[in-house]
């Protein structure tokens, strides 16, 4: 049922990635790589991860570690596999017919692709905020309470407390506290996205995956989300996929640069943007392609 949308994110013709006539940058993937390792106290340890949709490889041999309670940005041109990578971390790719992975993804030392893994439990520990705000057609309260309810929490008082805490964490409480039972679809785009973040926080996750959370928002709303991410990093690990290099530079602590399904460079953000070790990274961040 989701084949179409998911596949479109992968099958963008690779030829379009490099714009013509800027500089004859080779379209091939650089042989050079730089991956900072080891990382202190990693949440995720990704080992030789490859992802295929049918026969097409979307990710090739990715290995790096994601630090705890930090913001890790994943940047790269369209179709480089950043969203697909994000969806490997909570196994949302499983929902796509014909997807298949190789390698291992360890979450706190535990292989999330092991047969003993409870996928629904994993998705509560590692939850995803989508690019386009996707509130359910329900009330604000019911949106936030959705995850806890699916875990079996029924007591009204407990739910009330979770809803309030999550909305406060997402800096939305003051704007909606008087209309918790109004439809979520009446909120503005930025409010909807913060609602989706509150909804994700309500299941008490360890890791928040954010798939270009600001790309559908205006600059003011995007700024609010960025501030929010910085404040959330105190308690949560955040993996942020973004198109926007300024955003990555502003909010993240570590940055991974993906190109055509390969991890080209992974470094502390300050280092990656000031002293990129790989030529291809430099070309990308200086806008020579991408």
């Amino acid at each position: 049922m989701t084949v179409r949308s998911a596949r479109s994110s992968v099958t963008v013709p690779l030829g379009e990635v490099a714009p013509p006539a800027v500089e004859p940058t080779p379209m091939r993937v650089s042989e050079e790589r730089y991956v900072l390792t080891p990382i202190p106290d990693p949440v995720f340890d990704i080992q030789h991860l490859s992802l295929y949709y049918g026969e097409k490889p979307a990710l090739v041999d990715i290995s790096f570690q994601i630090p705890r309670r930090q913001i890790t940005a994943v940047i790269g041109p369209s179709g480089c596999g950043k969203s697909s990578f994000l969806r490997c971390l909570n196994r949302l790719n499983d929902l796509i017919d014909g997807s298949r992975i190789e390698g291992r993804v360890l979450l706190d030392g535990q292989d999330i692709y092991a047969p003993t893994m409870d996928v629904n439990d994993l998705r509560r520990r590692v939850t995803l905020v989508f690019q386009k705000p996707n509130p359910f057609p329900k009330s604000i309260y019911d949106n936030v309470a959705f995850g806890p309810r699916m875990m079996g929490i029924r007591q009204r008082a407990v739910l009330d407390e979770i809803v309030e805490r999550s909305l406060r964490q997402a800096a939305l409480w003051d704007e909606v506290k008087d209309r918790l039972h109004a439809s979520a679809l009446q909120l503005s785009g930025g409010q909807q996205q913060r609602l989706c973040i509150a909804r994700a926080l309500a299941v008490d996750p360890e890791v928040l995956l954010m798939d270009e959370p600001c790309s559908a928002l205006d600059p003011i709303a995007a700024g609010k989300i960025e501030d929010l991410m910085v404040s959330l990093k105190e308690n949560y690990t955040i993996v942020l996929v973004t198109h926007n290099m300024q955003q990555a530079a502003r909010v993240s602590d570590y940055t991974a640069f993906f190109y055509m399904g390969h991890l080209i460079e992974y470094q502390r953000t300050t280092d990656l943007f000031t002293h990129p070790r790989v030529r291809q990274t430099e070309d990308y961040i200086t806008g020579r392609f991408g």
Partner: protein
């Protein structure tokens, strides 16, 4: 700027737009014309016209209501002739109730003030001038005037007696019902070959007791009827014949030529009320259609209860669970094409499958002592409703699938990303979001099912079934009962009736009621859909 190369009228498709407008106008016109016909023909039936007495050239006289006028070519000369359809009633005297009269033959035309229309339980209305009331062979009120308090008091007391009689008859009905139950119990005891003599004896004693009760009631009824039959109203018909009508038979005496507008409106309202609340009489051409309304509505409701879960579950499996491949495509095409199967085929299937297979199996398992009388092994409300559910399930499936398709994948994945299982996602996110679409499907299904007649004729509709499928007798809902239906009523009254002229306006009225019911059911569903929309989508949608 580049010069336009195609003419403006082609670029803007002006003629096509005109055609679109014309099509819309035509559709509107047809709807309005259809409704206009139904309303004008149906609503006129209950309006009390004045009674006219015609003196014809051949010396004969006719009293009645002008039903319609038309101009036809004379069969011999071919010249146009105007003629009148006169409803002269008194079918017991003359065999017919209608007559075409050439206007050229009419020499006298008057509205006698004392002429009345008499509504009665048999033979249709009578027209004439009331003379006197007889008790036995003595004149009791002579002369009689229907505006006189004497007559009104007498008529009121007769009516009261008739209500008492009705009560007694209801009681007899109840006793009959009890006896029927006892008979079934007896059959059951005998079938189980339980040679338990004490149970048998108790049953027999119970039966004997109720038979005695029946005897008492029957005697009471006979006495009441005899008393009621004593009062006879003598009416002079148009040709001078004395017509004697027992007061017990009369439901109303209407002095049509002496009524004011207010009285006419009240009479009109009362007649309409009778139509929708009373049982039919006179081979369904008179009286009300209440059992048919009740049958239609209960059938549609039971059908809805069956069609929504089946349709929704099918669509859910097809869209949410099944892998999308050639097989699901084939299933989808097959479902869509089911809608093209003639409804009578569904009727045959319903009869063969539900009645003869399922019904017979139920009878054999649960009611073996009733054999050979079928309980569920014959047409009934349940089987007719299920047959219609089969007929309409493709509509619900298609509408539900459309609704599911309209839900963005982000919503589904959003729920899964929060750790909801597929079922939880379906149950708490997908279904509520698709509910308005499901109700749209139900609305279409109701519209389709309410108008179906053919499959019902094979699965349980009958001409006359005064016993409603839901009543105050245990177990209150009798799904195995046969029932009446407005659509079938239209067919039966309009085309199977011996008295076509009297039936025609009834047909229009029944059609009108059927339309009203469809609209009412749809409005209910639309109201429900809007409430769900507000609930889940806020006021914005």
């Amino acid at each position: 700027m580049r010069k336009r190369t195609i003419p403006r009228w082609r670029a803007e498709a002006t003629p096509l737009l005109g055609l679109c407008g014309a099509s819309l106008a035509m559709a509107l016109l047809m709807t309005v014309a259809m409704l206009g016909l139904i309303f004008s023909q149906g609503l006129g039936l209950f309006w009390q016209k004045r009674l006219v007495r015609l003196q014809l050239r051949d010396g004969s006289r006719w009293l009645g209501e002008v039903w319609s006028r038309e101009t036809v070519p004379d069969p011999t000369t071919g010249r146009p002739v105007r003629r009148i359809a006169l409803h002269h009633g008194n079918r017991d005297l003359w065999g017919t109730a209608f007559r075409w009269i050439d206007e050229a033959d009419v020499v006298g035309w008057e509205y006698p003030p004392d002429a009345v229309r008499i509504e009665r339980l048999a033979w249709g209305p009578a027209f004439g001038q009331p003379r006197r009331v007889w008790v036995g062979d003595k004149p009791f009120v002579d002369p009689v005037d229907v505006r006189d308090p004497v007559w009104q008091e007498l008529f009121a007391s007769v009516r009261q007696d008739r209500r008492v009689l009705q009560d007694v008859e209801d009681q007899i009905d109840e006793v009959n019902d009890r006896l029927e139950r006892l008979r079934r119990q007896e059959l059951r005891l005998r079938y189980r070959s339980a040679s338990d003599p004490s149970a048998q004896a108790a049953l027999q004693a119970e039966k004997a007791r109720w038979e005695r009760v029946y005897g008492v009631l029957a005697l009471r009824r006979t006495t009441l009827i005899e008393r009621l039959q004593q009062y006879v109203l003598e009416v002079t018909a148009a040709d001078g014949t004395a017509l004697r009508i027992p007061l017990a038979q009369i439901t109303a005496v209407i002095p049509a030529n002496r009524m004011g507008l207010g009285e006419r409106i009240r009479l009109y309202a009362r007649r309409y009320w009778e139509l929708i609340t009373e049982n039919p009489r006179e081979a369904n051409t008179e009286g009300g259609v209440f059992p048919a309304i009740f049958g239609t509505v209960s059938m549609v409701l039971i059908m809805s209860l069956a069609v929504v879960p089946v349709g929704v579950m099918t669509a859910l499996y097809l869209r949410e669970y099944a892998r999308q491949n050639w097989l699901t495509r084939v299933v989808r095409i097959a479902v869509n094409n089911l809608a093209a199967v003639p409804s009578i085929v569904y009727g045959v299937f319903g009869m063969g499958f539900f009645i003869y297979t399922v019904g017979t199996a139920i009878d054999r398992t649960f009611y073996p002592w009733m054999a050979p009388t079928p309980v569920f092994g014959t047409g009934g409300l349940l089987w007719a409703s299920l047959t219609l559910a089969l007929l309409t399930v493709p509509v619900v499936i298609v509408a539900t699938e459309e609704a599911l398709l309209a839900i963005e994948p982000e919503i589904r994945h959003g729920a899964r990303a929060l750790g909801a299982t597929q079922w939880q996602t379906v149950r708490h996110v997908i279904l509520p979001a698709a509910a308005p679409g499901v109700l749209t499907g139900l609305i279409l299904a109701i519209a389709r099912a309410t108008g179906e007649v053919a499959p019902l004729m094979l699965t349980g509709v009958v001409k006359l079934a005064p016993d409603l499928p839901i009543d105050d007798r245990f177990p209150f809902i009798h799904l195995e009962r046969k029932f009446m239906h407005l659509g079938f009523h239209i067919y039966d009254v309009g085309f199977q009736s011996p008295n076509v002229d009297a039936a025609q306006p009834m047909v229009y009225n029944t059609t009108l009621l059927l339309l009203v019911i469809v609209v009412a059911l749809n409005l209910t569903a639309i109201h429900l859909r809007n409430r769900i929309r507000r609930l889940y989508h806020g006021g914005s949608m």
